[in-house]
Subunit: 240 residues, 2 copies
């Protein structure tokens, strides 16, 4: 299940109910903290660190096989860079008969956009700059092609302490095709304590403070700044 | 605000509260029906038909200016082919000082994927095949480039009674670059009464029953069918 951006009010009723009813809650420690207020008092919490995703999926499936009601927590949507895929793969490998339900959540593309205005109102692409699971050459090829589509682009996981090259490469590719004055939005800690957001232009991207918990939205040629909001025009005539 | 796919349980707490507290609820008739159970008994409902979006946005802004608490209802996420953009544009045009908040909802890419499995677990593009507001040549160019990225693709508004050409064109473009045996998922009426879903291969796309309320998800080269679910592998090793 997906908790959405992190703030309980952006969680769906179904997601909330899944947590409230679970006898075992599994997830990355940071996410568990965000939802601990609604976890059952007698529930077992199995948290862990980033990078141990497969291990957590295996534990979750094992516990479900032992007749527990297990909830596996992802931030945002479990189907977008989340745990939905690994859970289904591990369940298949372990030949589990237990029913599995994927409960969607609000992904960062949606939650960041709502803060910025309406930058994704038309077609868009979602690309992660993390090269842990996808080779950098593949990410670069995707950016090269997508930058020529005039679609808005959302960048997930743009940068971390030890990983700054992909964002520089992404900038170099985008600036070849996209107008440097195109509005971009930068949102940190969407829906969590310390939320920050800023609207600037593509040409300034590399001067901004960007980390793992930042989502970047690049507008398209129809994106304007209206009343400090980033709005991609969809083609409606306002003078109808 | 966005109601998500249509089923009240997939709505966020914040979205639900906005509807419950509104003195005026504005939206397309079909969406109003989905939420009528939680609208205040004394609230005024202003519904209308498809194609009258600008008119509804103007009414919503006018009513907000008259000191009403107005909620404008979009299905899915208001920031993805929804009303968020027009509302911000109209509010600017009318020089409104009333505070406006965009409340995100679960978009069809997420809700359809949760039913299909985990087809979007890595990078993906969202493209609408409706050529009402975007010229067909622009849609075709986007598909031409995106089909070469090996990203998953989500098609919104794929076809309507009078509009079948864009889907045929989309198929002809995708099949040039994407393996015809790539899994695709077709979901109708996500989260609503009459929900249907099917997993098949790209080569069968044009043989399927598809309409305005269908969402189509095309996998990438890592997408497999696992236990009747569509799963895009992200590169984790399960034998860690």
């Amino acid at each position: 299940m997906g908790i959405g951006p992190g703030n309980l009010e952006h969680m769906t009723t179904k997601a909330r109910k899944a947590i409230e009813e679970a006898s075992i809650v599994v997830g990355y420690g940071t996410y568990i903290k965000l939802i601990q207020d609604i976890v059952r008092k007698d529930a077992e919490i199995i948290s862990g660190t980033m990078g141990k995703e497969v291990e957590r999926a295996k534990i979750a499936v094992k516990k479900a096989n032992e007749n527990h009601t297990v909830v596996m927590v992802s931030s945002g949507d479990p189907g977008v860079y989340g745990m939905a895929g690994i859970i289904l793969e591990v369940a298949d490998q372990e030949k589990t008969q237990v029913p599995i339900e994927i409960i969607p959540g609000i992904t960062a593309a949606s939650s960041a956009s709502a803060i910025l205005g309406a930058p994704l109102i038309s077609d868009f692409a979602v690309i992660s700059l993390s090269d842990l699971l996808t080779p950098l050459e593949k990410i670069e090829k995707r950016l090269e092609l997508v930058s020529q589509t005039d679609m808005s682009i959302v960048l997930y996981n743009p940068q971390s302490q030890g990983r700054i090259e992909p964002l520089i490469k992404a900038y170099e590719i985008m600036i070849k095709y996209i107008n440097p004055d195109t509005p971009i939005g930068i949102v940190r800690q969407v829906g969590r304590e310390g939320q920050q957001s800023k609207i600037t232009s593509l040409k300034n991207l590399l001067n901004e403070e960007i980390d793992m918990v930042t989502t970047i939205v690049i507008g398209n040629s129809s994106t304007k700044i209206i009343n400090n909001k980033m709005v991609t025009k969809r083609g409606y005539s306002l003078t109808d």
